[in-house]
Amino acid sequence: MKKTFLWVVAAAVVLSLAACGGGKVSLTFWTSHTPPDSDTLKAMVDVWNKANPAIQVKFVQVPGSETDVAKLMTAVRGGTGPDVYFLDRFTVAQRAAAGVLTDITAQVKKQDPNLASQYVPYAWAETQFKGKTYALPFDTDSRVLYYNKDMVKAAGFDPAMFDPAKGPLTLAEVQRIAFRINKTDKSGAYTQVGFIPYDTTFSQGWHYTWGFDFGGKFADLAAGKVTPTDPNIVKAFQFLHDWAKAMGPQKVQTFISTYSPPNNPPQQNPFLIGKVAMMVSGDWVLNWIRMYAPNLSYGVTYIPVPNKGDKPSTWSGGWSLVIPTGSKHVDQAYKFMSWMAGPEGQKAYTVGTLHMPTWLSLLNDASLFDPQHLFFKQILDISYSRPPLPVGALYWDALTQAENEVTLDQQDPMTALQKVADAVNPQLAQYLPLE
């Protein structure tokens, strides 16, 4: 009898000790990144796990894309979502408005009331919705004008014109060079092209790129409206329209379908293979050139501006870390997240993947950037980010439709952009006030 009783007590003690645990918590961390970036992330998680036995993180790779989060949403709804998720910063406001994300304002305040000042301002701005914080910024990028020195020379121009030390070129200058580089064959189809400012299949010729370049404002958050009909944005679209018309809209499409069809591998990026002399794109292209076109003679400079003397600009995207709704370990998840998105985590990621950090002090550490990347880092100072809207994806798609219509000469800029306002503002209205 006594023996049995002792066993029961022993068992009870053991069980209760196990239950208190030592407080070990297990978190799941999802990302849709793939190698090589995901390898770096995994290594970082391993570092964390070693140093933090009480908070163990399980790293899971989930196929998906930036704005398509069917899997995340169904999982969170069903109560089987992850504790930490890698989210495109651009969509934070939208997901927050939908109720997918956990409000981490309190945790941020507890960690450091001035946390905002440690991050690049535009990156922090994207993590806010209705005055609350829903994400921590992670990495970022920027966009420049890439130019092929050989092709420019062959057309009779001195590539030194493009040197950023001289400031940005004007669009008129760029057009002159570009049209000289254009070549067609007997049937009139383009075999070589100087510049297609509005292409988005192999470059970043988005509406935002040129809207920002012309000094346009895409939204008035205080008034709770999107403003696609901002006169500067209309001017930008007019510029794109005129460029398309001058080159022949359908002929340009055919060129793009030929050399940059959907799912074209980066090895065959038209700029890399010397079919296009100039393109606006981001720092990820540096890696491509290194791997697939190491002998390419190229340079980078500011995105060209409408008038001489205009200040250059660019825009940035990037990722962030969030805690989806329904996580049972918010505080622990936040601890992990703030380490990843903090100086240690971001440093490891920058070194491992050559992306740029959003932690300000890291940006001032020149040793982290190879020479080619420096220019991209410099222009972060003049970089915009897209307005954090609960209808971000809708707005983006509507603007893209408008850009399409204008460059295929189906619609004039003002009408096309007005349609965007008409489509998006009623939807935005549901979320007012925004601040």
Binding site: T28, D37, G78, P265, Q267, K275
Partner: protein, 276 residues
């Protein structure tokens, strides 16, 4: 005379060969691309025949993801889904075709109507159901529903069964056999070919389906090959030749399956869809 020979022997063969060429091209292209390296992929226009043949791509493709694990998972999922489709749809189609009962046709049309329901919204509600059952991250949501019939396959087998003479069943009934016996002894043997058709379609669908497993599975080690293929597409790059190599490997088992079942397949459908 010459015209007749041309018409009967040569012309059909030429046309047939041309059609086969067109239909074979996608597969050929996939395989050819799988043997190219970066340099060959960069060349424009793309070459028709890869040279040299980079066999290494297949090794790399298999190492890029947990290929073997995913293969086993695909096999399990496909076997389960195929079994479910074969078992349930035969029983259900039998009920809709070989027994005359009140309300049968009306109910059948309801079943057909479900073919027209688009999946996105029902996907969410369905996920809720499975979440409540705690079936998320298991194979249950992917296999269990197949044991409850699917309209497309029910329709197919039912058409087939409507063509088998009623007298067969009536005679057995008059002999006093119960319905289950009639099903298993009299009708089932005749149904084998139709069931084989459903088996192939169900197997191919399960093998290639990536959306449903994507939604319901969360642990990487449980993913099937169809999701595995998605991993070759990174955010700003696509490991093209590896993707093609992997896709070729993923397709081969299905091709083998087809050759094996081809026999049943033709015979089976033969008696089936003609009748109303």
């Amino acid at each position: 005379m010459l015209r007749k020979i041309l018409g009967l022997k040569v012309l059909p063969r030429i046309v047939l060969l041309l059609m086969c060429l067109v239909y074979f091209l996608p597969f050929y292209w996939m395989v050819a691309t799988s043997f190219k390296d970066n340099a060959q992929l960069s060349s424009f226009p793309p070459s028709i025949f890869p040279s040299p043949l980079v066999w290494r791509n297949y090794v790399d493709a298999v190492n890029y993801i947990p290929f073997l694990q995913f293969l086993v998972n695909s096999l399990v999922l496909t076997a389960g889904a195929t079994l479910g489709a074969m078992v349930s749809n035969s029983l259900i189609a039998y009920g809709f075709a070989r027994i005359a009962w009140k309300g049968r046709d009306a109910l059948f049309y309801v079943a057909i109507a479900t073919i027209f329901i688009p999946f996105p919204v029902t996907l969410v509600a369905l996920f809720d159901i499975f979440a409540r059952l705690h079936w998320i991250d298991t194979y249950l949501p992917l296999i269990v529903p197949t044991f409850f019939g699917q309209a497309f396959y029910m329709f197919l087998i039912r058409q087939f069964l409507m063509g088998v003479p009623k007298e067969l069943s009536d005679a057995a009934r008059m002999d006093g056999a119960n319905e289950l016996t009639i099903f298993s002894s009299v009708i089932l043997p005749l149904m084998k070919p139709a069931i084989a058709v459903v088996a192939i379609f169900a197997a191919v669908n399960a093998w290639n389906d990536f959306l449903t497993p994507l939604i319901y599975l969360q642990t990487e080690s449980r993913y099937p090959l169809s999701i595995g293929l998605q991993f070759y597409r990174a955010e700003h790059t696509v490991s093209f030749s590896l993707l093609m190599a992997a896709s070729t490997l993923v397709v081969l088992p299905v091709v083998a399956l087809f050759f094996f079942f081809q026999r049943f397949f033709i015979e089976g459908v033969s008696l089936g869809a003609v009748k109303g």
